[in-house]
């Protein structure tokens, strides 16, 4: 590393996340919710391009993508203030959209020119419109940060106060940042399926099984909040704890594969104190199906004699870097050579994640995880890996494609951005998803590749 590089540049090449105002997509993930982007003209196209298009081409829905209202600030707004423009935008949005909840997200421009958005939105709130605002300037953080800001904003300004009873067995599922991981929709479904199978009433706040904004109104009634992620959502759970005296269970590891998922279920059931009969029955049934398939797969695994990957590198956000590495290292026996976490994980969560990779990943496996957001450095880190056993496997983003080709590696995209992959409905987690994950990895290995 040269002198210049050593100074730990804060610059970024080959970006792997969007900025806070990209959390408009968090709103799109709630049925019936309409984001109102209060930012400059290019902001939404760019962030949405990254999250919904260059990310498995997962696409958008409803008031997302091209349908998204956006103030598209002009020079005039910058000089004279943008409140009038935003006021018009809100009126128009209320006028023509079918919306149960409107969320105004202010980006860099509005924040820098100092528009009083709370005041303006307050006027609509007082008149009874379901509308909230969130400060999501791009210079404040990335889209994961923005996601947490938006969630808190909706809780505070839309869900509101609650003093009623909590319902045993009802859990709020706090999981991944919508539209960030390419499989988020399928993963939400698989996790919800598992928790329901175990006997819970699952309050799904985002994605295909979210019933709409009424799920958000139900939040305070839940027995507890379940956060399944190394860090995203913990802030919201802490907030809910204060606000509704609602406890939370934080499980950093998204479960992948039978053993991890079974352990996950037992941990949640134990915490909730609900009856174990249903969950144990569910586990038994899921496990038997899982191993029915795994046994079939084992024939390929044992007899395919044209070569298979043994070593792998992962570059992804904290959640999936951890979940996938664990499954591959612990359940399949692939050797992790490097794990690079690229989501700007807040400093306070890093030691725990580092420790996890050092001591918890699997017996006899220990790895020093790297936190690096700058794509140039990510590439250098991968380039310097010496693969020693067969064809390497690189799980990363489309930025790694050229490098993977150079290294002669098997490559597929698991994190943002992805432009070599099309996702319609896919999951790599839980019981079912893990088997799909195997299919995907070993499909890359078979045939004359």
């Amino acid at each position: 590393m040269s002198e210049i590089q050593k100074k730990k540049p804060s610059v970024i090449s080959d970006v792997r996340y969007a900025c806070a105002v990209g959390a408009t997509n968090t709103v799109v993930a709630i049925k019936g919710a309409v984001p109102i982007a209060n930012c400059s003209p290019g902001c939404q196209l760019k962030t949405t391009a990254m999250l919904t298009f260059e990310n498995g081409f997962q696409g958008s829905i409803a008031a997302g993508g091209g349908n998204m209202p956006s103030s598209n600030a002009t020079e005039n707004d910058v000089v004279f203030g943008g409140i009038k423009t935003l006021d018009n935008l809100i009126k128009s949005s209320l006028k023509i959209y079918d919306g149960d909840l409107f969320v105004v997200l202010t980006g860099c421009t509005g924040e820098l020119i100092g528009d009083n958005v709370p005041d303006l939105v307050g006027k609509y709130q007082k008149a009874g419109y379901p509308i909230v605002y969130a400060n999501t300037a791009g210079f404040k953080g990335n889209n994961l940060y923005g996601h947490e800001v938006v969630v808190d904003a909706i809780i505070d300004q839309f869900v509101g106060d609650y003093s009623g009873e909590k319902k045993k067995g009802l859990i709020n599922l706090w999981f991944e940042t919508p539209y960030y991981n390419q499989n988020w929709r399928g993963d939400y479904q698989e996790l919800a399926r598992i928790l329901r199978g175990a006997g819970f009433d699952v309050n799904v706040l985002f994605g295909p099984e979210n019933p709409g904004v009424e799920a958000w109104k139900r939040i305070p009634q839940a027995q507890f909040n379940l956060v399944v992620s190394p860090w995203v959502g913990v802030k919201n759970a802490e907030h809910l704890q204060k606000k509704y005296d609602q406890p939370y269970l934080h499980i950093p590891e998204i479960p992948v594969g039978e053993e991890a998922t079974t352990k996950f279920i037992r941990q949640v059931v134990e915490y909730a104190g609900i009856d174990k009969k249903q969950s144990e029955e569910f586990i038994k049934q899921e496990a038997s199906i899982y191993y029915y398939y795994l046994e079939h797969f084992s024939e390929f695994f044992a007899e395919y004699w044209y070569g298979m990957p043994s070593e792998f590198v992962v570059t992804a956000d904290a959640a999936y870097a951890l979940a996938y590495s664990k499954f591959l290292a612990d359940q399949i026996g692939l050797i992790p050579k490097r794990v690079i976490i690229t989501d700007n994980t807040p400093a306070k969560f890093r030691p725990a994640i580092t420790e996890y990779f050092k001591n918890n990943i699997s017996e006899g496996v220990s790895i020093d995880v790297d936190f690096e957001e700058d794509g140039y450095e990510v590439e250098k880190l991968i380039e310097s890996v010496e693969f020693t056993a067969g064809k390497p496997l690189i799980l990363g983003t489309s930025w790694e494609l050229t490098l993977a080709n150079k290294k002669g590696a098997l490559f597929f995209e698991i994190s943002t951005p992805s432009s070599e992959t099309l996702i319609v409905n896919r999951s790599h987690i839980g019981y079912k998803g893990a088997l799909q994950f195997l299919e995907r990895i070993y499909s890359a290995s078979v045939g004359g590749k």
């Binding site: 210049i4 610059v11 290019g42 760019k46 009126k91 023509i96």
Partner: protein, 520 residues
């Protein structure tokens, strides 16, 4: 001749001031031609007396509702960010770079189409944080410049301004000037912050402005008599097929170009483009300030347009005789296939939704295929282009050759108007060249053709290429009908029942109910 382009400053006057660009209008194409007064504006651009008038400011429909759209900074990224040996530093918070991966894909596609080796884009974001908004980001910018040099050893380094840095008053000009001696390559500031222009196409001009000032050879030692500049994006190299018979080699600018290809632009024999919206600025500047003539002709779309364009090119290289034979043989060559397509598309209606000059070209191609165009949507209208050539009034050329377009709408990426726009006319398919709209239109039961390779429709073969693709597009109607049966756009019944796409603008009482509720 007046200097139509001022290269003395680092900034570019935006299009609304320079050209009178508008982004909201609704009427017939004929009316817009009249109101635009291209000829008068053209005389003015060429230094004609004030008496000729500027053409009054066009009436513009303002919309209270806008939607996801593009900005000049994004355009600079897709132009300068796609150079092979220069680095683009986006001096901005990280969000402004979040389309980089898409431009990387575009670059890979472009390189493949042009037969160049694959590589990733060379991009850096200064990734500005809240504290940089308060204390300034100059130190980070200097660091980024050094890192750019060290990482990529580029031939030039560009700095893009963004909204946040423009508001906080970052002085990118000074930093560029100060750092240039240290890194030893041109450092080029680009004032492309998104809010500066209401239309993203100003970004094209900013990109060209930068390379014209600091890369294009000011005093070319030699002329390359067989080299022609094509102002393009990433399209497939069909211009070579088109121009080879005239003995010309093409120099594509700017996407996928190298520093050297840009530098030699002043050595070329002429400049032309696939789209006056894109190419006007560069063409005019090369003509005025570097003595490279621009091809003053209609754009190379449809038979008549391509004929005229080829003749104009041939004139510059002294091949007037050869070109006639060439044109005649081309007409003959495509005739049978063209007849076939005309038969196939009989009774079909199309609608084009793209930038303005390109739309005019595309509509010509559809007309050649026998497809009717009752409506069109352009994202902006420039009443005149920077080149302002006598024969470059693309809208007039279109209407004179193929007839009026009764519903000609200017509106910048306002997807919410699509239900009304489609209600007014018959449309069997849409051709769209901008992200965000095609999928929305697709919900309305009409198949869409997202035209990514912008060179597909050019020249004689372009007509056939479009015909071939449209056959497939029409078949996809089945998908869109399925979608229409089951999925609904996010707008309410009241909006769907409206017929005027500019209802929110034209009806002064439209927000009355909301205002009453608010007590306003």
């Amino acid at each position: 001749m007046a200097n139509r382009i001022n290269l003395n400053m680092t900034t570019v006057e935006n299009r609304e001031l320079r050209l009178g660009t508008i982004i909201g209008w609704d009427g017939s194409a004929k009316e817009l031609i009249e109101q635009s007064a291209y000829d008068e504006r053209s005389i003015k651009k060429h230094g004609g007396c004030k008496g000729a008038g500027q053409g009054c400011r066009l009436c513009e429909l303002q919309s209270p509702l806008n939607q996801e759209t593009m900005c000049s900074n994004a355009i600079v990224q897709c132009q300068i960010g796609n150079l092979t040996d220069c680095v683009l530093i986006n001096h901005a918070p990280i969000g402004c770079s979040s389309e980089d991966a898409k431009f990387n894909l575009t670059m890979h596609m472009g390189l493949a189409r042009r037969g160049k080796p694959q590589q990733n884009t060379l991009n850096i974001s200064t990734n500005l944080q809240e504290k940089d908004m308060v204390f300034g980001g100059a130190a980070k910018l200097r660091q980024a410049i050094r890192i750019a040099k060290e990482r990529y050893n580029p031939k030039a380094i560009f700095i893009a301004m963004a909204c946040a840095t423009a508001i906080t008053g970052e002085d990118i000009d000074s930093v560029a000037e100060e750092m240039e001696p240290e890194v030893g390559v041109p450092i080029i500031p680009l004032h492309c912050e998104g809010f500066r222009s209401k239309h993203w196409s100003t970004g094209f001009d900013v990109a060209f402005h930068g390379v014209l000032r600091q890369i294009v050879e000011k005093h070319p030692k030699k002329k390359q008599k067989d080299l022609i500049n094509i102002i393009a994006l990433w399209g497939t190299d069909w211009f070579t097929d088109l121009l080879k018979p005239l003995g010309l080699r093409v120099n594509y600018l700017l996407d996928c170009a190298s520093f050297e290809e840009i530098r030699q632009a002043s050595e070329a024999v002429a400049t032309t483009t696939f789209c006056e919206t894109l190419g006007g600025y560069m063409g005019a500047a090369l003509e005025d300030q570097f003595g490279v003539p621009q091809i003053d002709a209609p754009q190379p779309y449809g038979i008549k347009g391509t004929d005229a364009w080829l003749r104009a090119v041939a004139k510059v290289v002294g091949k007037e005789k050869e070109v006639e034979e060439y044109i005649e043989s081309e007409h003959k060559r495509i005739a049978p296939k063209l007849e076939e397509y005309r038969e196939y598309f009989k009774g079909k209606y199309g609608m084009v939704l793209t930038g303005s000059a390109y739309a005019h070209g595309l509509i010509s191609v559809l007309a050649e295929l026998g497809i009717k165009n009752e409506a069109a949507l352009v994202f902006h209208h420039d009443p005149v282009y920077d080149g302002a050539g006598k024969n470059q009034d693309t809208l007039k050329e279109l209407v004179e050759t193929y007839g009026d377009i009764p519903h000609y709408t200017v509106s910048k990426t306002r997807a919410f108007q699509l239900p009304q726009l489609l209600k007014r006319v018959k449309t069997d398919f849409l051709i769209i060249r901008h992200p965000g709209l095609a999928s929305v239109a697709g919900h309305l039961g009409v198949p869409t053709f997202a035209l990514g390779d912008e060179h597909i429709p050019i020249g004689y073969d372009g007509i056939l290429r479009v015909g071939e693709i449209l056959k497939g597009v029409l078949a996809r109607t089945k998908f869109n009908k399925t979608l229409q049966r089951h999925v609904r756009l996010p707008y309410n019944d009241w909006w769907f029942s409206q017929t005027d796409p500019f209802k929110l603008t034209n009806d002064k009482d439209v927000f009355k109910d909301i205002e009453e509720k608010l007590g306003e």
